[in-house]
Symmetry: C2
Subunit: 137 residues, 2 copies
């Protein structure tokens, strides 16, 4: 029984300063929530690591959760969007280019609770790999 | 550049009542944290959905985060453990059998920020699939 879908997003070659800016990351969350019609539970928790460090954000949704971690030193940001209901695909590549200056975005999608082996999830990842190869800028 | 590893755990055929009990889920988090020597940031956020609904928990770590969602109606619980540093493998199968009565546990491990294609992550998932096939009770 599938209980949800999780999108696992890794964004590369992004703008270092954007990755240290919690407001920019909050804005990404706000755009995801608005575009996909998600509902939040509480305000979320945010942490800016000191100095040149990155940002962590966790936000609970009635549909599950949204998380991000940024690594300015590697110009990398990672996101997880876990939804217990089907949602349309969000254009992470375009949106993270606009908001964080990301030049490449890898998107993997997995089913949660679906199978007692990972064969279905594997095929999904393979499909997405070819999709990303076409979509990368 | 690998920025972290994520363990994606789906537990099946668990005890319905345990999946509605936020204290039991907090105890799972506490055991993971203690066994792996992780450090928490803040108290975490927890939500019990009304009536027969499940529990969501999100906890920020200096090493990244820990999340869970339970679905008592499907006797399923899902966990994510994201660590930006290498950690030993935790025995999810044994621990979730003891704490939540889970009869089967699927563990997938993916690299975050590692590659601009998912080929490496795929091979890791394949390795884990064979490991799980041997480890399931």
């Amino acid at each position: 029984m599938t209980v949800g879908f999780e999108w696992i997003i890794d964004a590369f070659d992004a703008d270092e300063n954007a990755l240290r800016d919690a407001e920019k990351l909050r804005a990404v969350f706000a755009r995801v929530i608005s575009d996909l019609g998600l509902k939040t539970i509480g305000e979320g928790v945010w942490h800016k690591f000191p100095g040149a460090g990155g940002v962590t954000g966790l936000l609970m949704l009635t549909e599950s959760h949204l998380a991000c971690h940024t690594y300015p030193e590697h110009r990398t940001a990672t996101f997880n969007l876990y939804c217990c209901k089907t949602r349309p695909e969000w254009d992470w590549t375009k949106n993270l280019a606009e908001t964080l200056g990301a030049k490449q975005v890898l998107i993997r999608k997995i089913e949660r609770g679906a199978e007692k082996t990972s064969s279905d999830s594997l095929s999904e990842i393979r499909n997405l790999k070819s999709k990303i190869a076409g979509g990368a800028k």
